[in-house]
């Protein structure tokens, strides 16, 4: 019995100790920034779901589980719940050439932009109603080796429309390198999707193109609002 008491005491001591150790202050620091097309200096458009991520690895822990920050549709990101510390930060699994990681100290409101090369640029985009159809024409500039898996025009009631989030779409499989001399054309038929998107209203249209690369996300042109 006596021995058991000691054990309990020991246990209590350990528990108590553990509690004290865990009494850290809450996260006070934040990291925000932008993904910028290194050439055009424009924000690099993203998806709100299953889009590019910012990987941050806090220093001083081993093993350490990386944290991933979501990049918003417009190419900005922000997390205001980080502990002040050194971190290795790197945009990954995106629609751009993965840049080298950088080590920064995150404290207060730290801002870190990344200049990146998008896999693809959608250029000379024109989206217009032609009869019953919505027709998109554009050129593709490819900035990395490989094939363009598919191009598509995506439609939704929500302005954050994209390949993963759409009620209607017209896609074309390419599986070939982008041809700089070709004007690509997609014809979207609103009739096919009127069960989800009744005619006579306005919707958001966004043209995207996906490289066939490891964990690649689609590249986009800016969203266009059209009445159909």
């Amino acid at each position: 019995m006596k021995r058991l008491q000691y054990l309990f005491l020991l246990l209590a001591a350990i528990l108590f100790g553990a509690c004290e150790k865990d009494n850290f202050d809450g996260p006070t620091a934040g990291l925000s920034g932008r993904l910028i097309d290194a050439d055009t200096k424009e924000l690099l458009q993203q998806d709100i779901v299953r889009g590019s991520t910012i990987e941050i690895v806090e220093h001083g822990y081993d093993p350490v589980r990386p944290q991933y920050l979501i990049v918003k549709n417009d190419g900005t990101y922000e997390n205001s719940m980080l502990f002040e510390n050194m971190y290795t930060v790197r945009p990954v699994r995106g629609n751009f050439v993965t840049p080298e990681p950088i080590d920064i100290r995150i404290s207060g409101k730290t801002v870190q932009d990344f200049n990146v090369t998008p896999y693809l640029r959608i250029q000379d985009l024109n989206i217009s109603k032609q009869g019953n159809l919505v027709v998109a024409t554009f050129r593709l500039q490819q900035n990395v080796i490989g094939n363009v898996q598919k191009i598509g025009i995506y439609v939704d009631k929500d302005p954050r429309v994209g390949e993963p989030m759409r009620l209607g779409q017209k896609e074309q499989t390419l599986n070939a390198a982008a041809d700089p001399n070709t004007v690509y054309r997609l014809e979207y038929n609103p009739d096919e999707f009127k069960a989800q998107m009744p005619l006579g209203k306005s919707y958001y249209f966004r043209v995207g193109a996906l490289m066939s690369l490891t964990e690649a996300k689609p590249n986009y042109a800016p969203t266009v609002k059209l009445d159909i």
Binding site: R50, P63, R65, V92, R93, E163, P164, R166, Q169, D191, E192, K194, A195, T214, E215
Partner: protein, 614 residues
């Protein structure tokens, strides 16, 4: 000895009975072996997202099965998809491996005949191979604990790092070979030589497919660079060859054959197919390994009958009808009129099968005399797998109707309503009360929302017992048809091996299903045949994984429903039309690349490299 009833004998060998005492007695070894079989990761009637043997404790998981994560079926209510914690088998896997290693250690010292030792060695290695196969297909490369670990005061030496995925698959196949070499050919409920070869056939095909199709879905991270996940394309040839070799060894020995291989009519073929799964014990020529469910009760019986039989036969059970085969699945089955291609259900005169826009009075619908005439000529296995609208099950006409078109051309669909025309009253769901139909009413989540209910594995002989774990239908884990399909796939995908024999394997299975026209051996034909023949046997899930098709097949994917409507414009004739629509109340689902591998639990403690994107 039947390993079915050994749940109650969940012996904890190392803390209750000293190993030498247990293994010193041949009966002790048998009991121990039974427990190992019980732990086998067999994806059967008790396999759900939470894991294996989900037939004790609280088995209420809504009846959400692995088939509902594929195009095979929808649940009546749930629209779930992959969760990070689903289908895990890590701690249990290493427990089984530890347990089987203890037995392997003990075998040399056992006081039994050499041939008995050989058989035990074979069985142990079969179990170990089965365990590592289950780990490899979930996690990729895993720590290979090839022999019993001894704790000598420090946990560090016991921490084994992950081997590469290649090394892990090679080890699985090596264990299969050891098992096949040591096992005899006697049939029973324990592993024999053919069981080991069938496992090898399945595992080698899995590995070969990963190697061949890995480039369809590449990911990044430490696990990739260290080759803990992923196989080189160059490894495919060797694995396909291993699959061909193992499959052919079973085929040429002739110990197994297809159950009732030459039916006279498609109707007979459909019934044969149903019988094969209602009681696999009646098909010892085809079934290579059975997992038995001999008695009702917790950890003994299972719950397929209560979850999945149509609402009309629920017999007081409050939650039937959860398995809803999709229109995609029904479309897939061939028509005897056009062999060698899937036969989507044509509902309109223009034949457009991609129009999911809903009922439109201006469209010209085909009219049918019965709610199932539209499926006439479809592969017998559709009739043996799904309960189709207006067919008989347990002496009851199963009513599956989504609504009607009123004489004025306006339709009432998926709304409880009735209309009197002349002397007769018509009901949207085909009958006046919830006990009299099985479709589309959302009442209780008991009625199919795809237009189809479920027949395969269902017990037709006795009424549902309205309680948990009352089903005793046995599970066929390996059957000859799968071996034939593995063989055909390995030949056609590798472009090596006996293509004539592979084509014969493919067409033998079709012949058993009532087909009379042979089709050529092509990759597409093999996959369609596989999906149809092995439907709902929890194979499609892994086919999508191993062929790296999941992310393509499930990219914003919605499933579809066939709405049977009575067309009252035809009165006094009784006529039905059908409308193809998206499954009601369903959302698109997308497979994320990371789900090709499960996350490894306990990384913080075991120090292993985590799989990508977890």
């Amino acid at each position: 000895m039947l390993f079915s009833c050994q749940g109650i004998l969940d012996i904890k060998p190392t803390d209750k009975i000293p190993a030498e005492v247990l293994f010193g007695d041949p009966e002790g070894v048998k009991i121990y072996m039974a427990n190992l079989y019980y732990q086998l990761p067999i994806e059967d009637f008790a396999y759900f997202r939470a894991g294996f043997n989900q037939n004790g404790g609280d088995p209420n998981n809504g009846g959400f099965s692995a088939a509902m994560l594929t195009e095979e079926a929808m649940h009546t209510e749930f629209g779930d998809f992959f969760g990070d914690g689903d289908f895990q088998w890590w701690d249990q896997g290493y427990k089984l491996i530890r347990d089987v290693n203890l037995l392997i250690d003990a075998i040399p010292a056992l006081d039994i005949l050499e041939e008995e030792k050989s058989a035990l060695t074979g069985e142990s290695n079969f179990i170990k191979a089965f365990a590592y196969f289950a780990l490899a297909k979930r996690y990729g490369g895993v720590p290979l604990i090839k022999a019993t670990q001894k704790y000598e005061g420090s946990a560090e030496p016991l921490k084994v790092p992950r081997s590469t995925e290649k090394e892990t698959w090679d080890y699985v196949l090596e264990l299969c070979d050891v098992a096949a070499t040591n096992l005899g050919t006697a049939k029973g409920r324990r592993a024999n030589k053919y069981t080991a070869l069938a496992l090898k056939s399945r595992a080698a095909l899995h590995a070969a497919s990963l190697a061949k199709f890995g480039s369809r879905a590449t990911v990044s991270g430490d696990a990739v660079t260290q080759k803990l996940v992923g196989l080189e394309a160059s490894a495919a040839a060797g694995y396909y060859a291993a699959c061909i070799q193992a499959s052919q060894a079973i085929i040429t020995d002739g110990a197994y054959s297809l159950f009732r291989p030459n039916p006279a009519t498609p109707a007979e073929a459909a019934e044969n197919y149903r019988l094969l799964f209602q009681n696999p014990n009646d098909a010892p020529d085809e079934v290579i390994l059975i997992k038995g469910y001999n008695l009702p009760g917790a950890n003994l019986g299972h719950n397929y009958d209560i979850w999945y039989q149509p609402a009309q036969v629920a017999n007081g059970w409050p939650h039937p009808g959860r398995m809803n085969p999709t229109l995609e699945m029904v479309d897939l089955y061939e028509s005897y009129a056009a062999p060698g291609q899937s036969a989507p259900v044509v509902t309109t005169v223009d034949g457009n099968v991609t129009d999911y826009g809903g009922y439109d009075p201006s469209k010209n619908y085909l009219r049918f005399d019965t709610p199932n005439e539209i499926f006439k000529d479809k592969d017998a296995r559709l009739w043996g797998t799904a309960i189709l609208p207006g067919t008989t099950w347990k002496g009851t006409n199963i009513v599956i109707q989504a609504g009607y078109v009123k004489p004025d051309g306006q339709a009432v669909i998926r709304i409880k309503d009735q209309i009197t025309v002349g002397a007769n009253t018509y009901y949207t769901y085909g009958a006046p009360s919830t006990t009299m139909y099985s479709g589309f009413d959302t009442y209780g989540g008991n009625n199919t929302r795809t237009g189809f209910s479920f027949k395969k594995f269902m017990n037709q002989n006795s009424p549902i017992v309205p309680g948990w774990n009352q089903s005793t239908t046995d599970w066929a884990e390996f059957r000859y048809a799968e071996v034939l399909l593995n063989f055909a796939e390995a030949v056609v995908e590798s472009g090596t091996g006996d293509a004539t024999a592979a084509a014969k394997a493919l067409n033998d299975i079709r012949r058993r299903a009532g087909h009379t026209v042979n089709i050529p051996l092509t990759a597409d034909n093999v996959q369609r045949e596989r999906r149809v023949e092995l439907a709902f046997e929890n194979k499609r899930f892994w086919d999508l994984i191993r062929r790296r098709e999941y992310h393509t097949v499930f990219n914003n994917r919605v499933m579809h429903t066939l709405l049977p409507l009575q067309d009252l414009r035809a009165l006094p004739a009784t006529k039905y039309i059908f409308v193809r629509v998206q499954v009601p109340n369903s959302n698109p689902r997308t497979f994320e690349l990371k789900a090709y591998y499960r996350s490894i639990p306990g990384i913080g403690a075991n120090g292993l490299v985590q799989n990508p994107q977890y």
